[in-house]
Every structure is written in structure tokens, then in C-alpha cells.
């Protein structure tokens, strides 16, 4: 007959042996014959902890300053957040298409485009500088612009208000991000962004881009290289400068050109996002991923992948 406790469970010391102890009179315990068996080590089979203490996410709150055209309302979960700090707790927060817009505007010599359906020009007064790029000569081009840094990936909204948004941004650990990186991602791929020259056709709000010159833009990288779909499909991606100033023909990921500016020079233009941990979601089309770098609506409609931010 089983010896049950008040919960109807067997006692721990009965897990290994149901027979009475025949050596009860022995005074000394037997010598150890190896690692202790399960009877002496308490094993927690039940716990109130509903998740493992691994890959935890660190989320930081950030106040997003409102824009006159309400562009901050277009930031949704899974968006890459770029911030420019202010004098108080509020920061100017942009998603990737808006950031690429601001970078293009700052190269237009102050000729900012009109907002869609409005007679007002977009409100990027000083232009934006991509300060995650630490190459000195690129930084010097943006000397008078406001400094934008990559901050994190939006998780959710902590408090909604008409005046400002309080965003919860993942900066470390597990996060979900819109898939602009490719159709064939594998677990363990290292994702990042790199600043390269690229032509634009659309603005973040979906209107047509007037200036078709090549502009510095943030584009995705996988394992330290420009995402494959941007190089393979030159018609959609419009990459002028995959690696450096015209040294490489679009459509090739020429390793010689990488050597021309040096591995260090390439790294200085990049920042890392994290490592792919789960990428079995629906595969987006190449056109969708390419256009999502410019248009907010397309970025927000991309399927998401799970990454581990490190």
C-alpha cells in the first residue's frame, strides 16, 4: 500500500523504494558510490513561476514628443525607435521610415517637402543626424543637425495621451521586430542596420518623394552584410551604394569593396539589433520589405520575427 500524504501524493522518500529498510540497525551510513541520487536533492516539480528566468526583456519607458502632423501616432509595436533627447524627459521619437525621411530632409539643404494634404512643410527644423554611425567624416556632414540614436524596439504603449505618448521600448533581451531583414532568416542570424546611400521614391506618409537623388539611409544587415534582398532586387531597393561610394555595382555583395574601406570602417557605420531566435512567421515579399524602409504603413503591416537583443 502506498504511503500518501494529505495531498494524495507519495512522500519523497518513497519515490525510490517501497520496501522497508532492511539495514535499519546499521550504525554507519554506507560510503558514497557516486553522485547523490534523487532522494536527497529536493526537486521543484511545481512552481508559481510561469516563465523561465532566461531571455528576459528589459523594457524602458520613453516619452515621445508630439508632432504637428501627428506622426508619433504611427509608431506601433515592433517598430525600430530612434530618439533625439530634449531638455526635459520628453524625446523626439521616430520609427525607421520617419528616420529615413528625416535623414533625407537634412540632405535637402533645408528644402523640406510639404506634408501630405497640407500647405505646411514637414517639421524637421534642423535635420537629423545618424549618430549611431561613428565614422567621423559622415558625422561631420551632419554637424548642425539634431543627433538621433537608435533606442530600442517598441513593445507597447504604457499610457495614451493626446499630448505625448509613453512608449515601452525593449532595449535588451527578447523582442519582436518587423521583418525587413529577409525571407530566409535562420535562428542565430545576427541582425543590424547600416548607413548607406540609396534612392527614394516615397516618403513615410506615402506621398511621392520629389528629390530622387541618393540619400544616406538606414538599411538592414544580416550577419554583417547588407540584406540579400536589397542587393538582389536592385529595382525595388534602389541601392546606389551597397558598400561605399560607387565602388560596387548594385546587385553584388563584393567582398573586395568591403576590404577597400576596411572592416572597421564598415562596422563604424553599423549598429547591432540582436540575434534571431524565432523566424517562422509568414514570409513577406521582397517589394514589401524594400518599400517598408520608406513608408510607415508598409512597415507596420510586415510580419514580425522574434529576436534576442544583446
Amino acid at each position: 500500500m502506498l504511503n500518501l500524504n494529505q495531498y494524495g501524493k507519495r512522500r519523497r522518500n518513497n519515490l525510490t523504494d517501497q520496501t522497508p529498510n532492511l539495514n535499519a540497525k546499521r550504525s554507519n551510513p554506507p560510503a558514497s558510490r557516486g553522485p547523490p541520487s534523487g532522494s536527497n536533492i529536493p526537486v521543484r516539480r511545481r512552481s508559481n513561476q510561469v516563465y523561465q528566468m532566461t531571455n528576459n526583456t528589459t523594457s524602458i519607458l520613453i516619452f515621445a514628443k508630439p508632432f504637428s502632423d501627428k506622426r508619433e501616432q504611427h509608431i506601433v509595436p515592433g517598430a525600430l525607435l530612434f530618439t533625439c533627447g530634449g531638455k526635459n524627459r520628453m524625446s523626439t521619437v521616430l520609427n525607421l521610415p520617419q528616420m529615413n525621411d528625416a535623414l533625407a530632409d537634412s540632405q535637402n539643404n533645408g528644402n523640406l517637402p510639404y506634408m501630405a494634404g497640407s500647405t505646411q512643410r514637414a517639421s524637421v527644423p534642423k535635420g537629423a543626424a545618424p549618430h549611431n554611425c561613428v565614422t567621423p567624416w559622415i558625422r561631420s556632414k551632419y554637424r548642425d543637425s539634431e543627433e538621433y540614436y537608435f533606442f530600442g524596439i517598441m513593445r507597447n504603449e504604457a499610457n495614451s495621451s493626446k499630448l505625448q505618448r509613453l512608449l515601452n521600448a525593449d532595449v535588451y533581451g527578447r523582442a519582436k521586430v518587423a521583418n525587413i531583414f529577409g525571407r530566409n532568416l535562420r535562428r542565430g542570424d545576427r541582425l543590424g542596420m547600416i548607413l548607406l546611400e540609396k534612392r527614394r521614391t516615397k516618403r513615410a506618409d506615402g506621398s511621392a518623394e520629389e528629390d530622387r537623388d541618393a540619400k544616406w539611409q538606414w538599411v538592414p544587415t544580416v550577419n554583417g552584410r547588407v540584406a540579400k534582398h536589397l542587393l538582389d532586387d536592385a529595382n525595388h531597393a534602389r541601392m546606389v551604394d551597397p558598400i561605399s561610394h560607387g565602388n560596387v555595382v548594385p546587385g553584388s555583395n563584393d567582398i573586395d569593396a568591403v576590404d577597400a574601406i576596411g572592416r572597421r570602417g564598415l562596422r563604424e557605420r553599423m549598429f547591432g539589433l540582436g540575434v534571431v531566435s524565432h523566424a517562422v512567421s509568414e514570409k513577406p515579399t521582397v517589394k514589401h520589405m524594400c518599400q517598408a524602409l520608406e513608408q510607415t504603413d508598409l512597415m507596420n503591416s510586415l510580419p514580425q520575427i522574434e529576436i534576442l537583443m544583446v
Binding site: 533627447g85 561613428v134 558625422r139 540614436y149
Partner: protein
């Protein structure tokens, strides 16, 4: 003088903490230097919470535990001379206090945050904004309670790629909120976002 404005509490977030030891050998060397005006003040070498800790690149220890310290007497940046950077590098942010002395203890209990989110004070002389890349340098003058104002300790400073010393040290952290001078801030310690020279 202490800071009168309210500082934020340390953020309860994931961090990687390791045990290390106070650099008693270097502490003794600095104290035995007759030209060092701070040598008699033990308090200058105490490690306080949220202080930046540095360690020598070449250390001789039999136990394999890193020796760290939070203060350095004298300037660390002299023109283009990189000799100091060749010998020292960033280790982490202290998670608890340690009193400087020469007495040997088996377990000092000095814990250092080497990865993840930590709290630190902005003594760089300028405001630091969210997302900014950070490296380290000597602080100007501390206003944190319990820290001697003339202690030569270290602080996070905005990374400037045109500064040769900054390039040598590399990016060691990222700011996570806007912080005024002498205010506290949360930082994300990263294993060198941009590689060192």
C-alpha cells in the same frame, strides 16, 4: 555639497553581475607615492555604489579574480599620449560599496555589473540624452552624497569618434534616459558596440 534634486532609483532590470576584488596592490602604490597629495585620504579610494570601475589589462593574480578600482590620481588624458589607455580598460559599474584598505580578506563581497542595465551618475559636464553612445573619462567634480568632491573618479561621457582617447576606449554603454549634469541615469552596458582601436 550634495545633490539636492531628486535622483531616480536604480531600475529593476536584468543585469549580469560578477564578483571581483579591490586592487590593493595599486592602492598601496598610489599611497606610497610621496608626490601624491591624496595619498593620505583612504576615502578617495573607497568604492561607492554606481561608480565606474576600471582594471589593469595586465594583472598577476593566482585566484583569477579581477582587481578593480574606482579612482585614479592624476590626469589620464595628456595630449595624444595613449599610455594610460594601453594599461587600463573599463570593467563595469559597482553594485555595492567597498571600503579601501590593505587588510586581506578571503571574500570582499565586491559585486560589479558588467552587462545589462545599471545606474550611474552623469558627471561629464553636459547633458546626456537617451540612446547616446557612451565611453568613459575622469569626472570633473562630484556632487553625489558621500563622495569627496575632489575624488578623481570616472564618469560616462558622450562618445566622440574624433577624440583619439575615445576611439581607443571604444563605446562601453548606451544611455537609456535623458540626464542632466550631476543627475542619475540608466545605462545599458554593452560589450563594446564599436570595436576599439
Amino acid at each position: 555639497m550634495c545633490v539636492t534634486k531628486m535622483n531616480s532609483k536604480a531600475l529593476a532590470a536584468q543585469k549580469m553581475v560578477v564578483n571581483c576584488r579591490f586592487d590593493q596592490q595599486n592602492y598601496r602604490l598610489q599611497q606610497s607615492n610621496p608626490n601624491n597629495p591624496m595619498a593620505r585620504h583612504d576615502e578617495m579610494y573607497d568604492i561607492k555604489e554606481h561608480e565606474l570601475l576600471l582594471c589593469k589589462k595586465k594583472q598577476r593574480s593566482t585566484d583569477g579574480v579581477t582587481r578593480v578600482q574606482s579612482a585614479w590620481d592624476g590626469p589620464i588624458e595628456q595630449g595624444n599620449d595613449n599610455s594610460w589607455d594601453n594599461e587600463w580598460h573599463f570593467f563595469g559599474v559597482s553594485d555595492n560599496e567597498h571600503r579601501a584598505d590593505l587588510k586581506y580578506r578571503m571574500d570582499q563581497g565586491l559585486a560589479v555589473v558588467v552587462g545589462g542595465v545599471a545606474k550611474a551618475y552623469n558627471e561629464s559636464g553636459k547633458a546626456i540624452h537617451a540612446g547616446t553612445y557612451l565611453t568613459y573619462t575622469q569626472s570633473t567634480k562630484s556632487q553625489v552624497r558621500g563622495i569627496p568632491s575632489n575624488k578623481k573618479r570616472f564618469t560616462f561621457v558622450k562618445y566622440n569618434p574624433e577624440n583619439e582617447h575615445h576611439r581607443k576606449r571604444g563605446v562601453v554603454a548606451k544611455a537609456l534616459n535623458n540626464s542632466r549634469m550631476h543627475g542619475s541615469m540608466d545605462v545599458l552596458l554593452t560589450p563594446s558596440v564599436v570595436s576599439q582601436a
